[in-house]
Subunit: 445 residues, 2 copies
């Protein structure tokens, strides 16, 4: 066949790029597991009626059809999942009798959307989600926990500076209700346009919704409040609006912000402009921007959903955050964010001649038995050529098997140093054992 | 919504089952990486003309359609991949200029087939493939290498005894040519039915193909030869057929068999009945049976393909083996093969009261900092209830925070032992750090 070409919106990685992705995925999994989150995977396909239940993004779903399905039954009734939250809610309901609640899970999987590809938007991409759900009631400390776990995961990523923005829907709804607004959701939708429209246009739209000039100004003022500590509470109070739900929201948001100190890698802010479009959020909401890549939009989002999973009799409230792994990595990788080698191998065992392949294999096997990824040269070419074979793959060490004239030797091909070595004892420094990446941390806010 | 039900052919795992799968997947990845195989993933979707290139299994493909695609363009032209070999061949051609050859890769991904679900056959399932490809010519020692690496991976799996059967297409084709057969492929297709039809029926079909009675008997005799060492060569010679290609095949198969000693976990046999249906195999072929689960068919198969990936100018010969992870695990899990816990946590930190949650969080964080997966109790229930919380999840240790009356204590809730402990020093025995599974090894051949 002719040489195939890439498919727009379906990013694929070369081996050194994939190693960078693996480093990120391994770090995420390790952080989630340290906090007791259990891994699950859900099937890629869900019944269409489940996928379309929330209505909003129906146009983006890929529907499945069996190529030789019967006439008159063109679709399988199944579509590929477009996120991991809707399948997770289904999984919880389906297995409620077999799960232990509160149930903490992480889920790292591909999802698919048929939308127009652009940087940060793909047709196939990987998400990493954590959620905690409970039966009937989920105490608020779990909102703090998911935020803390994801902030810890983000802080360990070798990526540009991140800014996690947190808000609480109860603040917005309570504030609007305190202003006497009848339909707080309508106001929320207008204020949510603040990053697309100028402030005076927002005030205009708010007055179109029936707000007086002063109330509209207050809505705008609320949206402009942000802080890295709980000082935001006083700024909100200063606007002179009061409502029971507003009080509840302010207390919750202050609790999250106080529990999550900013670090060098991740700034945590209360940002009262964040609303999240999805209508199932009922309290805490999260968004995250990556420094220098703000045009990607939020790379890590989520919130509290009190009624997403319900079978009519029992409700399973939850709180969760979803990290857009591909949304971060594809643009970074396109800018050269790759691992220092294209193979896992730390050592290439050279081959003296084809007859001694067994001896080189035995050395490799001795190293592997002690956890050192090792490969044997493909051919008994001149040693200079074998060293270049290692160099092209980023393998740091070349092992020269013992011969009649000399003992086993191992060479660090980056620095050129060469020394005697014992296949049953030598090991590379821990930092050389596995592929690594240079952090991209230069872009601070 | 009403309680959803499982979807036939799309197996999903509960957390303790998923932990068993993760143990298997981690072991596979670790083995492949120790041997220098690089991880890649390919997109789930391929153009339909690529998927149907080999013709054989077109009816099993799931075609993708965007729900709101334009009228008159019902399909996207894409289908979900049904194996990892065809996408890998496409990936090699597409990226040939950027890959280092010989290229060793492993690929662990889900694949989809629209076939009728039954035990061992699913619509969504996970495969783990290793392949080595080179430009122009791939030396035979790579056939030995992929077989050895997969045999090592299989030997470390906590599953019933495995029997890897190896053959070489050149033996079959050379033998038939030596008998004067004009169309060896036709004879191969007949002999391949030996596990479905009785021997006399096979002889009948062979004579229908134009073979004399003696030649037909010899074909049957060849197919019945098997051995765990290279003694099979003499048995083939004794049939008195000679051909250059037969000689080449016998030498290759003997080399693989001699290099792969059987172990307690995996029996390696030369089995001259194995042909593999797929027409792209040109030399070594592999199949694997799991003791007590022979009805599943082969759980690990592959072979040498000299011309699968070609752009017309350059050919990339390869050799590979594909392990049916779901084909092994779904039946084993249905019979109770699960991890000893449903969460990664080794420790549950108990909660004295809600006010001291911060103190319990700090203990958990100290343990996590030393790599110990830890969670904090959800509520400050009575300690007996908190212990049962850990028990239900299979968490082996409960930590009781220091109070005015007593020091920190940690309890092994399986044995009941309880002792003083320091959050900055205590660690569980390594065997308790992560979930584990009891090997299912009782079924030996």
């Amino acid at each position: 066949m002719a040489r195939p070409t890439a498919l727009s919106g379906f990013p694929e990685f070369l081996p050194a790029e994939r190693n960078a992705e693996l480093i990120v995925l391994d770090h995420l999994r390790r952080t989630f597991e340290l906090h007791g989150f259990a891994s699950i995977e859900t099937r890629a396909a869900e019944p269409m009626d489940q996928l379309l239940r929330k209505g909003e993004i129906d146009k983006e779903v890929y529907v499945l059809r069996r190529l030789h399905a019967d006439e008159g039954a063109p679709d399988s009734g199944l579509g590929l999942h477009f996120d991991l939250t809707v399948p997770f809610a289904r999984y919880v309901l389906e297995n409620a009798g077999k799960l232990e609640f509160p149930f903490r899970r992480f889920q790292i999987q591909k999802v698919w959307r048929g939308e127009r590809p652009q940087e940060g938007r793909y047709r196939e991409f990987t998400q990493a989600d954590i959620d905690i759900v409970n039966r009937d009631v989920l105490p608020f400390h779990f909102d703090v926990e998911v935020a803390r776990v994801m902030a810890e995961a983000l802080a360990g990523l070798p990526v540009p500076h991140l800014r996690m923005q947190i808000n609480n829907r109860k603040i917005l709804e309570g504030f609007y209700l305190g202003l006497g607004v009848a339909d707080p959701a309508a106001i929320m939708r207008v204020v949510d346009k603040l990053d697309k429209l100028p402030a005076d246009k927002i005030v205009q739209l708010l007055t179109d919704e029936g707000l007086g000039a002063e109330a509209a100004d207050k809505c705008l003022a609320l949206a402009q409040i942000n802080a890295t500590d709980s000082s935001f509470v006083d700024h909100v109070r200063a606007l002179g609006v009061s409502h029971e739900m507003l009080d509840a929201g302010l207390a919750e948001l202050a609790e999250v912000i106080d529990a999550l100190p900013s670090t060098d890698d991740v700034t945590i802010t209360a940002d009262l402009r964040i609303a999240r479009g999805l209508d199932y959020y009922t309290g805490t909401v999260f968004e995250t921007q990556m420094a220098g890549f703000e045009s990607l939009g939020s790379i890590c989002s989520g919130g509290r959903y009190d009624a997403l999973a319900t079978d009519g009799k029992t409700t399973y409230p939850g709180v969760g955050i979803s990290l857009g792994v591909s949304r971060i990595l594809v643009p970074l990788i396109a800018r050269g964010f790759i691992a220092d080698r294209s193979v896992p191998s730390a050592v290439l065992v050279a081959l003296v001649d084809e007859e001694s392949r067994g001896a080189s294999d035995a050395i490799a096997q001795a190293l592997r038995a002690r956890g050192i990824p090792t490969e044997v040269a493909a051919t008994a070419a001149k040693f200079g050529k074998q060293i270049r074979y290692a160099e092209r793959r980023g393998i740091p060490y070349v092992w020269f098997p013992a011969t009649a004239e000399q003992t086993h030797q191992v060479k660090d091909i980056r620095e050129g140093g060469q020394a005697d070595a014992d296949p049953d004892a030598w090991a590379p420094p821990p930092a050389d054992l596995r592929p690594s990446i240079q952090p991209v941390k230069e872009q601070t806010p």
